[in-house]
Symmetry: C2
Subunit: 286 residues, 2 copies
């Protein structure tokens, strides 16, 4: 397939690489052109000077940029991907963004006969590098099916969850669950350390029962050892929690602990933890 | 071995039964004698009229009662187990209680040459019935070893975690982790339902990733379907969180979300949910 990939950050760079390995023809675009050039040199694909140019003639165009405004900036206008794409092509947005922007892009794409799915990912940098991401998808079945041969290149799991926006909403559920979970784990670890427990032995026992979680299995040691370079950064978590809290204003969901944990992450940022992973939440109470 | 089991509640009743199946000689005591009589009829063991009498001549005496004061009441005084036990015997307390009472009982036992371990369990009623409990233990290695042939009858996993009180402290860590985790999951589910997501499909995807947990795997359906008869009751959770919050006053741990969730459980009690399982936390925000 002829594909384009817009946004070569820590996620997009390896994801676009997997498209080449999967046998697709790939043209990339990145705000900093030097990085696009480097990517093309390494992978044997090509790069373009604008999103529109990269998207020209592509069957599937993927985005993975920073936030709602970045999505709008690479999608709309004379240089945006929609200006370059043809009717019948499919636009896949892997950015974690709002359901609002997903519906906005979808409406505009629809007018042009272009398919759209919102498809935020989880699995982090390691998942992107190993082609083992999980992709939560919102949109129409037929559009989703056209994108599957592309998504398959970097995802271990992908699922259509409902109409446009559902991918973003599911990602919000994910981050909301993680916020409470990581705070609970942080309080448990902080308490256990102050109580003088052998935390390795304790977690060994607890992790098999009703307190068990992926976070407990994979982060308790780094939380005890103050090693916070193992995943998703606090700045990005606050962006995602901000999106969820904003959405809750319109759907009426009550998120008291999510809102509180968002503020706790502000404490971590204040302590210089912008780039620490989310398990650094423990630092403010240890 | 000659054993005694004090307290035939939903946990103790089947646990004492497993001792008989394991080939031990068992004498039980229960505050309501009729229940002890029923147990003895069913299992072929014997029952006694006081804890002291039940404990007489036993190598290992197990307690599984309600709270700190219940532990004191069946342990101390002329009718308490310590009055019946001989030097060299071992007292195992399976009650979830404070580390303070564990140290108190241990000190008194020590004066009499009796060994003591605190050994709260997790795994709930199902774990007790299936002999699949997890036991968190505090005390001395030699004392623990004497109790192993007894504990093995109803536990799938047991581990010595440190000096007397460590079992109780580890159980507190467990409940603290669960408090934040279940609230995060509740907020995620409440948000997803209001957002109109297919929650079954959504959780299917999320449960494999960084938001995954035992609670998500085992409780999300019952939380959506309002079925709260599947485990540990809210009244008992509040008792346990109360113990943890009290302990945090002396060890200095900060538990903001644990304290908040304890108050949220008070809302559930106010709504008549005293006997609902802990996942009923979702009801106050759905």
């Amino acid at each position: 397939m002829k594909t384009a990939f817009i946004g070569l950050g820590v996620m997009g760079y390896p994801m676009a690489g997997h498209l080449v390995k999967g046998g697709h023809e790939v043209t990339v675009y990145n705000r900093t052109t030097a990085k696009a050039q480097k990517w093309a040199d390494e992978h044997g694909g090509s790069y373009a000077e604008t999103p529109a140019e990269a998207a020209k003639g592509a069957d599937v165009v993927c985005l993975c940029v920073g936030n709602d405004d970045d999505v709008r900036s690479v999608t709309f206008g004379d240089d945006g991907v929609l200006a370059g794409m043809s009717a019948g092509a499919v636009l896949v947005d892997h950015t974690t963004a709002s359901a609002v922007v997903a519906r906005e892009v979808s409406a505009k794409a629809d007018e042009l006969g272009i398919g759209f799915i919102d498809a935020p990912v989880s699995g982090g940098q390691a998942g992107a590098e190993n082609g083992a991401l999980t992709v939560m998808i919102g949109g129409e079945q037929t559009v989703y099916e056209k994108a599957v041969p592309v998504i398959d290149c970097y995802a271990r799991m992908h699922q259509l969850l409902g109409s446009v926006g559902s991918g973003q909403l599911a990602k919000m559920v994910n981050q909301i669950c993680i916020a409470g979970l990581v705070q609970g784990l942080s309080e448990g670890i902080a308490f256990g350390m102050r109580a003088g427990l052998d935390m390795k032995a304790t977690i060994e026992v607890l992790s098999k029962g009703a307190a068990g979680s992926w976070q407990m299995d994979n982060r308790y040691e780094t939380m005890i050892d103050d090693k916070f370079e193992h995943g998703f950064a606090v700045d990005w978590m606050r962006k995602d929690l901000g999106i969820a809290l904003e959405e809750s204003k319109s759907n009426g969901a009550r998120l008291p602990v999510t809102a509180l944990v968002d503020q706790f992450y502000a404490d971590v940022q204040e302590d210089g933890g912008n780039r620490w992973d989310t398990s650094s939440l423990v630092t403010r109470i240890r």
